[in-house]
Symmetry: C2
């Protein structure tokens, strides 16, 4: 796959912020022809640089009022234990992210629930029921000063 040039970077910068921009609008913005933009965007999709285009919802308007980060430590770190945990935990719809981490615990989970009651229910009846859980520490989001899906570029 070819490296990204400054034009690709410009296009990606715009599409990361607003993917509903038309090729025409992008072309105007960065002073290139529509055909060029069309070509570049197609290639960025084909090369998998753009993985997908998604709608970002206002979580308060869909009643997902509580976001928690759960730090999970497992009892052991055999491949089996790690794989099994991942396979099971990603099935829970409340779990938006499951990241294996370096450091004093094994996984960070980002969990979205309605409120503290439903988080508690998730914690007791779903997460803590999985095998090989050693400890779970939960932290709750009080406010979001920045919440971007866009990676820094260039």
């Amino acid at each position: 796959m070819n490296q990204l040039d400054p034009l690709d970077i410009e296009i990606l910068r715009l599409l990361q912020k607003d993917a509903s921009l038309t090729n025409k609008e992008i072309a105007f913005e960065i002073r290139k022809s529509i055909a060029t933009i069309h070509d570049r965007v197609r290639k960025l999709h084909e090369n998998g640089v753009i993985k997908r285009v998604v709608a970002i919802l206002d979580r308060k308007k869909i009643n997902r009022k509580l976001i928690a980060f759960a730090h999970v430590l497992l009892n052991d770190h055999t491949v089996n234990t790690l794989n099994q945990f991942e396979q099971e935990v990603i099935k829970f719809p409340e779990v938006m992210e499951c990241l294996q981490m370096s450091g004093s615990f094994d996984f960070i989970l980002r969990v979205a629930t309605y409120d503290m009651d439903t988080y508690h229910d998730f914690y007791r009846n779903k997460l803590a029921m999985l095998p090989n859980i050693n400890t779970v520490q939960s932290f709750f989001v009080l406010s979001e000063a920045k919440s971007d899906t866009a990676y820094p570029l260039g």
Copy 2:
């Protein structure tokens, strides 16, 4: 603003996964007319339920190979200190998220850099230069078993 009905939920479920679906495709999927879908989607935008539509990039293909979570504890918790920290830290392009948290530290930062060297540079020359930083603990993503922007619905 009106409550979401099951039809809205169905539409949002699809658009959270793939916002490049056309109204026609959505209409076919959930057996409604194109005009109905068009109307619903327009209202979901107007009401702010859909905040925006964005392109999600493959971070490895844009060379953002390292994702770190930094847990930041400040020296005090006056409104001024908290506000000042937020205002400054969100200016760093490396910081994708800045969330104030309950618990044993004040903020979680999600930081995207090229590699450990550039993270170290960010840490020493940007983050640690801010006033009123007490402690920073950094954790690094080893692997992503699940990485969704979609909230659970319904």
